[in-house]
Each structure stands twice: as structure tokens, then as C-alpha cells.
Amino acid sequence: MNALAHAAAVTGVPHSSYIGLSVLLFAIGLFGVARRRNPLLLLLSVELLLNAANVALIGFSRYWNNSDGQIFALVVMVVAAAEVVIGLGLVVAVFRQRRALDVDEMTELRG
């Protein structure tokens, strides 16, 4: 019995579910970026995007049965964490200046 079937037999999650979940997460993330005005929630949506990719990576890693995908996913997680930290720092700096948490009000730069 090959490894893939073995894996499938163990957990019983078909491959397409991974893809489906990741697409769903990605879509929610995009939607969130489009709709949300609070910068914190924007960052949250961005996290969703990155984690959608992670799910896809891990799903593919199972399909191809090698570890590249998982390594990639770990790297993405680290990067996402760093990005969020910096994002939060920036949001705090902005908040200190404006006392508002609404990206639609940040339109000094335009044209």
C-alpha cells in the first residue's frame, strides 16, 4: 500500500478538501481586506491570506509526499509573524498620532 493511500486511510481526509479549505480562507481574507476599515482587522485578514497558503502547502505536501511544502509552510509562518509584529507597531504609532483606527481617514497621500 503506497504512502498516500496509507495516509488517506489513516486520516480519511481527501486531498481536495485541503484545496477547498485554502481557497475558502483565501477568499475570506480578500473579502476582509476589501471591507474592513480597522487596521487591526485588515492585518487579521492578511493573516488569513497567508494561512490559506499554508493550508494549501501542507495539503500539497501530503499529495506529493515530500517535505518541501511543510518547510515552506514553516517559513511562511515565521514571515507572517514578523509582518504582523511590524504591522502592529505601525498601527500603534499611527494611533498615537491620530487617535483613530480607520484606514479610510489616512488619505493625506493622494493623486
Binding site: 483565501f26 494549501a56 500539497f60 514571515v79 509582518e83
Partner: protein, 483 residues
């Protein structure tokens, strides 16, 4: 495992961390300059290391994650020079007085990230490099925290940039899903051997990668962050973004599209060409009538990305060679233009406005000449470097049966005269100068300006040896596939 090939990258990133630490030291006279000086020394060392390794064979390190071929070495040198120029532009900038360590350190780390992109052997490293330089840039843009526009630029860049990165990484994930490997050189086999070409998966992967990289390169319609971020960021950082980000983004394009994805050329040829055409036209039109230099240069950079995309769309060795040569020319002329803006900003309030440049041909003839050379070269005026670069890019397109694209590029250049020449005209107008300042431009800025301007001329004059250099670098990439 051959770690010696990693030296350029290690030197620069190590220096970055060192600079951050040095920034913590109390600000006595000598110590104030220490982080920046460390940076410059490290970058010079990186150039030397790249030069030393030039003649040697191609190497891989870290289990083929890091490739050290001539392409990497050439780009390492270009990126290091950009880093030095930016550090010089920011030298003695009063705004960064208390943040010297961060300033220099982040610039170095960003350059290191760009170097990583140039040397990427796997999609993981590619992504890592992109994120490293991008995240450093997010902070750098916002570093002048007392200016709300700087903070706004940083936050906007981060948000939009993160979305772009998310799309890119999703595309890379799909690419992994289609090929089963993250190693670039193995991918081309998988894509050709396998019956993948009609599969939706690689196509979807391609789409998202094009979008993600196009965002970084400021292609239309992913460019909307560029004018705002360039405008709000501190000017030396804008110069850094205008040059370094473009170089890194196109290095990524070349690594992916001229190597692993070459097998799918027929699939991405036309979409990339259309992207290039749209970018050229819209970038040039939007640059018209901009009153501020930084914003104008931002839109002009969008158009320039379009020209570079023409070279990518050609999908040939000639195309890559043209892209590399144009990146050289583009770096020189953009740096020269920004040096003049930096200088003017320090002298005059609202120095960013084009009107502030009126009459500098008389009051500061050297800066006037530098600015004129930069503008004429950007417009593609013969016989400067910009003209030769565009000639090579459009020529590669014609060779690849994309003559219509070359025509679009030429028309775009014609439109661009409308805003480049306006700056030249304003600079040489006689009449009372805007101010009568006796502020002396710091020598570091003058050095950058003069050297960049000289580079514009030299890159044009020595076109042949430089083109051979780029050709060498390009040959190293397009190895195994015969099209």
C-alpha cells in the same frame, strides 16, 4: 556544502545586525557615524567578494537553495552599489539622528533580502528574500514618525504589500502543488515532462505569481501603492525603493520566468506582454502634470517597469540581457534624479515640488547638468544610456515577434517626453531663483549625484563591454531548455 559563496549575503546581513547594535551606543561624535560607516564598508566588501568569485564556476549552496552564478554576482554588485548610494544620501540627514542604527541596519538587511532574491534557487528562498527586503522597507518608510505622511506611507505599503505577498505565496504554493518541488531547476522538468500544460493548476499558479511579482515591480493595475508610498517616505528611502525594489522584483521575474517557467512560455507570453503594454501607457500618462518630483518619479518608475516587462515578455536571452542592461542604466539615472531632489529638499521648504527646481541651472549648474542628464536618459534620448537600453529592450521584443509591443513602448517614450522635458525646461529657465540660500549641500549627496550622472554617460559609452557582461550573466541562466 560550499559556504564561501554565501559571503556577500552573510557580510551584508551580518553588518545589518551589527549596525542595529551599534545604534544603541551613546551618541558621541564618532559613534554617530558608526552604523552608516559599517554599512558602507560591508557593502564595499560584498562587491569585492562578488568580483572575486566572478570567474569561477557556478555553485550552489544550502542544498541548492542558494545559487551563486554570474547572474547572482552581477546583481549583488548592483544592489551593493545601490545600498552605498542610499547610505550616502542619508548621511547627516538630521531626521535620522536618533535612529541611525535602525536606518543603516534596516537598509543593510533590505539589501541582503534583495541579494537573496537574486540568488534564489528555490521558491522558499525567493519568498524569504522578498519578504525580508519588503518588511525592512515597511519600517524604513515609516521611520520619520513625527511626520504623519511617513507613517501613512509605511502602513499603506505594509497593508497593500502584505496582500501582494499573500497572493504571491499562494501562487508559489500552487506551483509547488503542480510540480511537487520547490527547487527552481527541477521545476522546468516537471512542467515539461508532465502533462501539466493544460492543467488549471499551473495556470492558476502563474496568474498569482505574475500578480504578486507585478505588485512588487509596480505594474499596472497593481501599482497604486507606488505614488503614495514614494511620496510619503523619506526621500533617500524613496530612492532606495525606486531602484532596489525594481532590481529585486525583476531578478525574481527573471529567475522564475527565464528558468523554471520557460516551458510554459506560450502560456504567459501574451499576458505578460499585455501587462507591459498597459503599464507603459498608463504609467506615462499618469506622470503628466504631477507637480511633485517624488510622485512624478514614482509614476515614471511605473512606466519604466513597463519597459522592463517588455524585455521579460520576449522570453529570450536577448530579452534578459536587455533587462539587465536597462536595470544598470535605470539605477544610474534614477539615483541621479533622486540625488537632486534630496539636495533641493534640504535647501528649500517644499523642495519636492518641480517649481522648486526653477533656475538651478544657473544657481547650481552642476546639479542642473546632473538633472538634465537624468531626465533625458529616462526619456530615452540618444545617445544616453536610457536610449540604448530601450533600443535593446524593444529590439528583443521585435525579435520575438512582439513588434506591436515595441511600438507601444516607443509611443510611451514619446508621451514621457511631456513630463521629463518639463523638468529640464524649469531647471534652465532664467529669472529670479526660488531662494537665495547659502546652505551647502553635504558632500555625500553631491558625490552620489555626480557619480550617478557620470555612470549614465559611461554606461552609454561602454555599452559593448557592459552588454557582454549582461549577456554572460543571462547565459548562465537559460541553461537546459532549447526553444
Amino acid at each position: 556544502m560550499n559556504t564561501s559563496v554565501l559571503t556577500p549575503f552573510l557580510i551584508v546581513s551580518g553588518a545589518g545586525v551589527l549596525a542595529l547594535l551599534l545604534g544603541v551606543l551613546p551618541a558621541r561624535r564618532a559613534a554617530r557615524m558608526l552604523p552608516t560607516a559599517t554599512g558602507i564598508v560591508a557593502l564595499v566588501a560584498a562587491i569585492i567578494m562578488s568580483r572575486v568569485q566572478w570567474g569561477g564556476p557556478d555553485e550552489t549552496a544550502l542544498a541548492s537553495n542558494y545559487l551563486s552564478d554570474r547572474f547572482t554576482l552581477l546583481l549583488d554588485s548592483i544592489l551593493a552599489v545601490i545600498g552605498i548610494a542610499v547610505l550616502l544620501l542619508a548621511w547627516r540627514e538630521s531626521s535620522s539622528a536618533d535612529k541611525r542604527g535602525e536606518y543603516a541596519g534596516l537598509i543593510l538587511l533590505s539589501v541582503a533580502g534583495m541579494m537573496l532574491v537574486a540568488a534564489a534557487g528555490t521558491t522558499i528562498v525567493l519568498f524569504l528574500g522578498i519578504e525580508l527586503f519588503s518588511v525592512s522597507l515597511y519600517i524604513l518608510c515609516a521611520l520619520e514618525t513625527w511626520r504623519s505622511r511617513s507613517l501613512e506611507a509605511g502602513l499603506k505599503y505594509l497593508i497593500v504589500g502584505a496582500v501582494g505577498s499573500g497572493i504571491l505565496v499562494y501562487g508559489l504554493a500552487l506551483l509547488y502543488g503542480a510540480t511537487g518541488t520547490t527547487v527552481l531547476s527541477e521545476m522546468q522538468h516537471a512542467l515539461i515532462d508532465g502533462d501539466m500544460l493544460r492543467d488549471p493548476l499551473p495556470i492558476a499558479a502563474l496568474t498569482m505569481i505574475v500578480v504578486g511579482l507585478g505588485f512588487k515591480a509596480s505594474a499596472v493595475p497593481f501599482h497604486m501603492w507606488t505614488p503614495d508610498v514614494y511620496d510619503g517616505a523619506p526621500t533617500p528611502i524613496t530612492a532606495f525603493m525606486a531602484t532596489g525594489t525594481k532590481v529585486a522584483a525583476f531578478a525574481a521575474f527573471i529567475r522564475l520566468f527565464s528558468d523554471s517557467l520557460l516551458g510554459m512560455f506560450d502560456d504567459w507570453r501574451l499576458p505578460v506582454a499585455i501587462l507591459a503594454a498597459v503599464t507603459v501607457i498608463i504609467g506615462n500618462i499618469a506622470a503628466l502634470l504631477q507637480p511633485g518630483m517624488k510622485r512624478m518619479l514614482a509614476y515614471s518608475g511605473v512606466a519604466q517597469a513597463g519597459y522592463l516587462l517588455i524585455g521579460i515578455a520576449a522570453g529570450s536571452v536577448a530579452g534578459v540581457e536587455a533587462v539587465l542592461y536597462y536595470l544598470l542604466a535605470y539605477t544610474a539615472m534614477t539615483m541621479a534624479a533622486f540625488a537632486v531632489v534630496v539636495m533641493r529638499e534640504r535647501e528649500v521648504l517644499d523642495g519636492d515640488q518641480i517649481g522648486a527646481l526653477r533656475g538651478i541651472g544657473r544657481s547650481r549648474p552642476m546639479m542642473g547638468v546632473v538633472l538634465t542628464l537624468a531626465m533625458l536618459s529616462l526619456a530615452g534620448f540618444p545617445p544616453l544610456a536610457g536610449f540604448i537600453g530601450k533600443f535593446m529592450l524593444f529590439g528583443a521584443a521585435v525579435d520575438a515577434d512582439l513588434t506591436w509591443l515595441a511600438i507601444v513602448g516607443a509611443v510611451g517614450s514619446m508621451i514621457s517626453l511631456g513630463y521629463y522635458l518639463k523638468v529640464v525646461a524649469v531647471a534652465w529657465q532664467s529669472g529670479p531663483p526660488v531662494d537665495d540660500t547659502t546652505y551647502r549641500t553635504p558632500r555625500s549627496v553631491t558625490i552620489v549625484a555626480v557619480v550617478s550622472a557620470a555612470a549614465i554617460v559611461l554606461v552609454a559609452l561602454f555599452a559593448d563591454p557592459l552588454l557582454t557582461l549582461c549577456s554572460d550573466a543571462a547565459q548562465g541562466l537559460i541553461g537546459t531548455i532549447n526553444r
